[in-house]
Symmetry: C2
């Protein structure tokens, strides 16, 4: 299995961030993987509190922390000068540095020099692993469910993480499989599928959900939309390689057009079901849609319940807002 | 337009090759672009004759040759030690070196050093240009026809080159657009689409066939097959980004299964037409199939004519073997 892997536990690095909105990665890690987040690091006393113990780099080393995760996105998305002393100290202490920034960690000379003297790795979660294979299309053991979308940013990662949590609560054997950078940080492993060279995207998806126990579910984070004028090929490669038994369509209820591609009308949920089934049946003839996950933010409770009931009735499938309802109704259909 | 561009005219480099089958690239260049092939270079007197004047590197420089194209594939697909003196001499003379080998030219220290002292560029046609954009899906001027396939290696490049030649013969305004390494060498420009990072594949295809005159046809080399378990995402990105008005389905008549993926039955021509139309209509609602191009090698003349007549009758579209019939019947449908 050729995927990125992060060492645990984590120190969440927040720099001098004071606003939680800029620290979605750090907050997401604390929400979804609290057991792996041992401490947080702030440059300032007034810095954002994620509810974790505050530690210096030396204390983190002493506490057995293995990875420092940059959990905040600065303006411009790059490394900040004021971060460097602490990051270099961590690398010198043999702690891995993990980031999903626009400029790679390996491009920073001081960090690179420090890491080369120790066992510290600089891990850019936007950089796919090397030597990914071409997709084989060969059937794998275990079961897979993939998040499909009517668009980008339609709740695929949130739905997949919610399903993993709700499935585990019932005692089901399930693991979230991350295909994007934030998901990889949360999962501690994965492949940034959209950064993979096109020839190898189906092969990368095959690596992401390898053979597993017959009762095991890979809950795979989707990417883009099969109807997206920029990213459809990413969605297709992930679909073909994942060979999912089931999929969920994720949708933002208030959206009428592709986000950022305003001349493109959003496909209907029905269109996404039909196209995903058609294409997915190449590598898994039994593929089927098991539910709809909708982001209903901005709706009143009554509007939300009416909307979900309408979609559910029309399609004969459970329709939920995972933020409000959880994903149990979809899991009921999945295991039925 | 962000694509690879080769300087002309060419010296075709054949090393000590004696077998034309190993020099498909060189032979293809001489077949499709004789006006650009000024000379050939052989290390041995008994070397393969492509019908071009033989020149030394010094003579090539004197004759105004701008690019040396490695036109033969060695065993293993890499640079050969015995080639290096001549290649270094060419780089020292300021001649570009162009190759589609498995190991990049830039990885050879002697070549790199020589090229850095002159204006010579080392061009690996397997390496895409940098800074490709994400696909916009915005409608472009001019017209486009794309080769689709039931499989890889089904005659897409040959059909596209044949169509370009036959269209030009009639005075139509047409250009072959190369999406693979051999095609790029023949066209002198293009993008190796399968080597592009997935996020940018539709954007790369948009760069490959930019805005053009209203009467102009881009004849775009296809890649893979929309039904391929390894490469479907490549075919999809190229399709979405090309926004073709028309497409041709290319098929190898004797093949029953995907070449190298023997557990996958070949899709039917009808399935490829339907799926290509469905997906392509996202960026061009007027997309339609205008013909079928079949490789009938191994059939008798009678078998071939019966086969093409059957397909044509069944689908209501022209069906030709471009090696035998040329592509005029498809062009008739295209311009109708």
């Amino acid at each position: 299995m050729n995927i990125l892997k992060l060492k645990t536990p984590y120190l969440i690095f927040l720099g001098s961030e004071e606003n939680k909105l800029n620290a979605k990665t750090g907050a997401g890690l604390v929400e979804w993987r609290p057991e792996l987040c041992k401490a947080q690091f702030n440059l300032t006393e007034s810095g954002l509190d994620l509810g974790l113990p505050r530690m210096s780099i030396a204390q983190a080393k002493e506490a057995g922390i293995k990875s420092l995760i940059i959990g905040t996105a600065s303006i411009g998305g790059g490394l900040q000068d004021e971060w460097m002393d602490a990051l270099v100290e961590a690398a010198q202490a043999g702690i891995d540095i993990v980031a999903g920034l626009h400029n790679p960690l390996n491009g920073n000379a001081a960090l690179k020099a420090a890491s080369e003297k120790t066992s510290s790795s600089l891990i850019d979660v936007r950089t796919p692993p090397e030597n990914l294979p071409v997709g084989t299309g060969i059937k794998r053991t275990g079961k897979r469910i993939l998040m499909a979308g009517t668009d980008c940013v339609s709740g695929k990662k949130f739905t997949a993480l919610s399903m993993e949590r709700d499935m585990k609560k019932r005692g089901l054997n399930a693991d979230f499989r991350a295909s994007g950078q934030t998901g990889i940080m949360i999962a501690g492993s994965g492949i940034p599928i959209d950064a993979v060279v096109s020839d190898f995207i189906a092969g990368a998806a095959e690596q992401l959900s390898p053979d597993n126990a017959d009762d095991h579910w890979d809950v795979i984070e989707g990417q883009g939309s099969i109807f997206h004028p920029g990213y459809a090929a990413v969605s297709m490669g992930l679909l073909i390689g994942s060979q999912p038994d089931a999929f969920v369509v994720c949708h933002h209820a208030s959206r009428s057009h592709m986000d950022g591609w305003e001349s493109y009308i959003l496909p209907t949920i029905e269109q996404v079901i039909e196209r995903t089934t058609d294409i997915g049946s190449l590598t898994n003839p039994n593929i089927k849609c098991v539910g709809i996950s909708v982001n209903t933010s901005g709706m009143s409770e009554q509007q939300r319940e009416d909307y979900c009931a309408d979609v559910s009735k029309k399609l004969g499938l459970p329709c939920i807002d995972p933020h409000v309802h959880g994903t149990d109704k979809i899991i009921d259909t999945l295991v039925a």
